[in-house]
C-alpha cells in the first residue's frame, strides 16, 4: 500500500485539498453533511494537510478535519508577497515539518499550490526542498496551478518566479493546472474554481488508486516517476469517462488526451515527451487489443507510453498523464509577466518622479507655525 502525503499550500492548495477530501466522501455526489455520517474513503493510506498563513482560508474548508489544517502564524497571510512568505516559512519550518513528520513515512507526496498567490508560491519550493531533505526516498510531485491571466501583474510575476523555483528544486515533476485554460469550459469564476478543484481532486485520487491497485497491466510508482522525469519534467493530466452511448475504450483513450479534457493546454502529438495511460472499467469494455492499438498509436508521436488497466465495474474511465517536451504556453506567461513587471516598474518610476516634482515645490521651505 502506498503511503501518500497530500499537502495543500495556500488558499488554492487548501481548496483543492478540501476537494480531494470531499472526493473521498463520494465526490460531487457527496452531501454537505456526508462528513457527519461517512468516513472518507481513500484508495491508499492518504494523509492530507492544509497549510496556510491566513486562518480565514483554513476556516473555509468543509471536508478537511481540523487536525489536518495547519495555520502558520503570520498575521493574516503574506499579502501575495513571496519574500514575506518565504520568511514566514523559514520562521515556522520546524513546526511545519514537525506536523508532517507526525503523520509518518511516505512514498509519494503531492504538493498542491497556486503559483500566483503569496503563501503557496513562496512556501512550496522551500517545502519541497525540506521534504526531499527529510524523506530520502520520497517522490514529490508538485501540482502547480497557473493563474487567470487577468488577475494582475503581481500574480503573474509570482507565477513566473514560483515556476522557476519549482523547476529548480529536486521534485520528481510538476503537474500543471491552468485556471485560464479550464475556465473556458466553465461559467462564472466561482463555478470555475469549484469545477477545477473537483477535476484536479478526481484525477489525483484516480492516479493514486491506480498506482496502488492490482492491475491487469501493471503501472506503478516507478513508471509514474519515469513519466514525470521525461521532457521538461512538467506535465499535465487528462481524464475521460465514457458515456453510455459510446463505450468504446479506444475512443475513451483518445478523448482523454483531447484538449477539452486536459488541465493544461498541450498537444500530445507535438509536445508530449512521455505518457502514462491508466484505464479502468468493466472487463467487457476492456478490449486489450483495442487498448494496445490505441496506445501504440499514441506512442508513435508522444514517445514512451506506459499503460495500466484496472478491472472495475463500471463504464470505462481513462486517466492520461504526460510530460511535455515543450511548453509554449509557459513562455507566453513569462512574457506576459515580464511585460507586467516592466509596466509596473515604469509606472512606479513615473509616480516617483511625479512625487519628486511635487516635493520640489517645498524643497527650500520650512514649516511655519
Amino acid at each position: 500500500m502506498l503511503n501518500v502525503l497530500v499537502l495543500g499550500v495556500g488558499q488554492c492548495g487548501n481548496r483543492i485539498l478540501d476537494s480531494i477530501n470531499k472526493e473521498a466522501f463520494g465526490g460531487n455526489g457527496a452531501s454537505k453533511l456526508a462528513k457527519y455520517y461517512l468516513h472518507p474513503k481513500f484508495p491508499s493510506r492518504v494523509e492530507t494537510l492544509a497549510i496556510n498563513t491566513a486562518v480565514n482560508d483554513l476556516k473555509e474548508l468543509r471536508f478537511t478535519t481540523a487536525k489536518d489544517r495547519l495555520h502558520v502564524p503570520n498575521l493574516h497571510g503574506v499579502g501575495a508577497n513571496r519574500n514575506v512568505g518565504k520568511q514566514a516559512f523559514m520562521d515556522n519550518r520546524d513546526m511545519i515539518m514537525g506536523e508532517i513528520e507526525k503523520r509518518g513515512d511516505f512514498d509519494v507526496a503531492f504538493v498542491i499550490t497556486s503559483t500566483s498567490g503569496g503563501t503557496g508560491s513562496s512556501f512550496s519550493p522551500l517545502l519541497i526542498n525540506e521534504l526531499k531533505r527529510q524523506y530520502r526516498n520520497i517522490t514529490v510531485i508538485t501540482v502547480a496551478v497557473l493563474p487567470f491571466r487577468e488577475e494582475g501583474s503581481i500574480y503573474l510575476q509570482n507565477a513566473a518566479f514560483c515556476m522557476r523555483e519549482l523547476m529548480e528544486v529536486e521534485a520528481e515533476g510538476i503537474l500543471l493546472v491552468d485556471n485560464q485554460y479550464i475556465k473556458r469550459f466553465s461559467g462564472d469564476i466561482a463555478t470555475a474554481y469549484d469545477k477545477i478543484n473537483g477535476m484536479v481532486a478526481q484525477r489525483l485520487l484516480f492516479l493514486v488508486e491506480s498506482l496502488d491497485s492490482e492491475m491487469l497491466s501493471v503501472t506503478d510508482l516507478g513508471d509514474f516517476k519515469t513519466v514525470m522525469n521525461g521532457g521538461l519534467r512538467i506535465g499535465t493530466m487528462g481524464f475521460y469517462q465514457a458515456d453510455s452511448k459510446n463505450l468504446s475504450i479506444r475512443d475513451a483513450i483518445e478523448n482523454s488526451f483531447k484538449p477539452a479534457n486536459l488541465l493544461y493546454p498541450a498537444n500530445v502529438a507535438d509536445d508530449a515527451a512521455r505518457a502514462m495511460v491508466i484505464i479502468q472499467g468493466s472487463r467487457e469494455h476492456l478490449d486489450v487489443d483495442e487498448i494496445t492499438k490505441e496506445i501504440e498509436r499514441i506512442s508513435s508521436s508522444a514517445g514512451h507510453v506506459f499503460k495500466g488497466i484496472v478491472v472495475r465495474k463500471g463504464r470505462p474511465k481513462v486517466l492520461s498523464v504526460f510530460t511535455l517536451a515543450s511548453a509554449p504556453e509557459l513562455e507566453s506567461i513569462y512574457a506576459q509577466a515580464a511585460r507586467g513587471m516592466q509596466d509596473e516598474k515604469e509606472k512606479r518610476s513615473r509616480a516617483r518622479k511625479q512625487l519628486d516634482d511635487a516635493f520640489a515645490h517645498i524643497e527650500d521651505l520650512e514649516e511655519i507655525y
Binding site: 462528513k35 455520517y37 483554513l58 474548508l61 478537511t64 478535519t65 481540523a66 487536525k67 489544517r69
Partner: protein, 402 residues
C-alpha cells in the same frame, strides 16, 4: 412529858369526841323523824330496772320478774308473794297499766306498773307503796343467766356467676344460717327465680331444713339456664321462721342483678392480605388469616378457594382445613400465586365451620392483578441510539470544526 399533861390531853380528847358523836346522833334522829312524818302521809314510789329473775323486796312483799312474754305486745309476767303465804300471785303485766296487790298502795298494799320493756330479758318496773310498810330494795337474781332463746336467720342467694351467656347453665345456691341464739323453727324459704329470663333445670324448689339450731346453716342448690339476654334483676329471697315461743320472724336476702350476654358463638373472619400486582410469570405468596372473633371455639373449619377467571392466575394451596380455632385466636397460611396471563382476577375464599349451633359459612374475596410484561428500560431503546447519534455527530462536528 409530864404525867399530868398526858392525862389532861386524854381527857380533852374524849370530851371532844363525845360532842361530835352527840351531834351526829341528833342529826340522824332529825332525818328519821322527817321520814316517818312523810311515810305516814303519802304513797311513795320507786323505779327498778329488772332482769328476768331479779326480785324487789318491800317489807313482807317479794316481787320477781319471771319473764318478758312479749316485747312487741308489752307483756311481762311477775310473781308477787308475801311472807307468810297470804299472797302468792303470778300475773301478766301490761305496759303502762297499774296492777294493785292487796288493795294497792293506798291500802298498805303495793301497786306495780310496767314502765318499759328493754328487751326480752329486762324491763323497767315502778313500785308504789306506803313508806310505812318498808323500803323497796332490789335483790338481783342469783340464778345463772340463761342464754336468750333468740334465733336469727340470715339468708343468702348466690349465682355462680354474675355474667353469663344465653344457654349457659347457672348454679344458684341458697344459704340459710342461724346466727342467733335460739332455735329457729318452721323455716320456710320463698324463692322467686327471675323468670322468664331463666328456665328451671333441676333442684327447684330449694329444700332447707325446717329447724336450725344456733350456728347451724343449711344450703340448697338448684340449676337454671339463661334463655334471654339482658340485665336481669334477681329479687330478694325471704325466709320465714319462728322462735321457740312461736314468734314469727323473717329475713330476706339482698336483691341484685345478673347480666345475660348473647349466646356464645364462634365468628370467623377471613382476611386476605393485600397483594401488589404480580408481574407476568412471577410468583407471589397470598397470606390468608382466619381469626375467630366470637366467644366460642370454631371447629371443623374447611377453607376452599377459587380464582376467577380460572385461567391465567394459578393458585396452589388455597384449600386448607383446621380442626379448631379458639376464641380470639387466628390461623394463618399462605397460598402461592403464579401470574401467567395479564389481567384482573378475583380470589374467592369460602370457610365453613361449626360455631357451636351448626355449620356457618364465611366468605371473602380479594382482587389481584397480573401485569403486562414490563419493559422497564424501553425508553433507552430510543434514547441510546439518539444519544449515540448525537455524540457521533458532535464528535464529527468537533473533528471538522476549525
Amino acid at each position: 412529858m409530864h404525867r399530868g399533861d398526858v392525862f389532861r390531853m386524854r381527857r380533852s380528847f374524849i370530851l371532844s369526841g363525845s360532842v361530835y358523836l352527840l351531834i351526829v346522833i341528833l342529826l340522824i334522829q332529825a332525818v328519821c323523824a322527817k321520814e316517818f312524818d312523810d311515810d305516814d302521809d303519802e304513797v311513795t314510789f320507786r323505779d327498778f330496772n329488772l332482769n328476768v329473775g331479779d326480785r324487789i323486796d318491800l317489807g313482807d312483799y317479794q316481787m320477781e320478774l319471771i319473764e318478758i312474754q312479749s316485747v312487741r305486745d308489752g307483756l311481762v309476767v311477775m310473781r308477787i308473794s308475801k311472807i307468810g303465804g297470804s299472797l302468792d300471785e303470778q300475773r301478766a303485766l301490761l305496759l303502762d297499766s297499774s296492777n294493785n296487790f292487796d288493795g294497792g298502795a293506798e291500802t298498805k298494799g303495793v301497786t306495780i306498773t310496767l314502765a318499759d320493756i328493754f328487751d326480752e330479758q329486762s324491763a323497767k318496773v315502778r313500785v308504789e307503796y306506803l313508806p310505812s310498810i318498808g323500803t323497796a330494795r332490789k335483790r338481783a337474781s342469783v340464778r345463772p343467766t340463761v342464754a336468750p332463746d333468740k334465733p336469727e336467720l340470715s339468708v343468702e342467694k348466690i349465682f355462680e356467676k354474675n355474667q353469663m351467656s344465653v344457654g349457659d347453665e347457672v348454679k344458684v345456691t341458697i344459704i340459710v344460717k342461724n346466727t342467733g341464739t335460739g332455735q329457729a323453727q318452721n323455716i320456710n324459704v320463698q324463692d322467686m327465680p327471675p323468670l322468664p329470663k331463666f328456665i328451671y333445670v333441676a333442684g327447684y324448689p330449694p329444700k332447707i331444713k325446717e329447724t336450725l339450731g344456733p350456728g347451724e346453716s343449711d344450703s340448697a342448690v338448684y340449676v337454671i339456664d339463661a334463655v334471654k339476654e339482658g340485665s336481669v334483676p334477681v329479687p330478694a329471697m325471704i325466709v320465714t321462721y319462728t322462735d321457740s315461743k312461736n314468734n314469727a320472724k323473717s329475713n330476706s336476702s339482698e336483691p341484685f342483678n345478673v347480666l345475660i350476654n348473647p349466646k356464645s358463638k364462634a365468628d370467623l373472619a377471613i382476611r386476605i392480605e393485600e397483594v401488589s400486582p404480580i408481574a407476568l410469570d412471577d410468583e407471589r405468596l397470598l397470606n390468608i388469616s382466619i381469626s375467630n372473633l366470637g366467644t366460642a371455639s370454631a371447629t371443623r373449619i374447611e377453607v376452599t378457594g377459587e380464582v376467577s377467571p380460572s385461567q391465567g392466575l394459578v393458585a396452589s394451596d388455597l384449600d386448607r382445613s383446621f380442626f379448631e380455632i379458639l376464641p380470639g385466636e387466628e390461623a394463618n397460611y399462605s397460598a402461592k400465586l403464579s401470574g401467567q396471563k395479564a389481567g384482573g382476577y378475583t380470589v374467592h375464599l369460602k370457610a365453613s365451620y361449626d360455631d357451636g349451633d351448626g355449620y356457618v359459612i364465611r366468605e371473602s374475596t380479594a382482587q389481584l392483578a397480573v401485569l403486562e410484561r414490563e419493559y422497564k428500560y424501553q425508553y433507552l431503546l430510543l434514547i441510546i441510539p439518539v444519544a449515540i447519534l448525537v455524540a457521533w455527530i458532535y464528535r464529527r462536528y468537533r473533528e471538522y470544526k476549525y
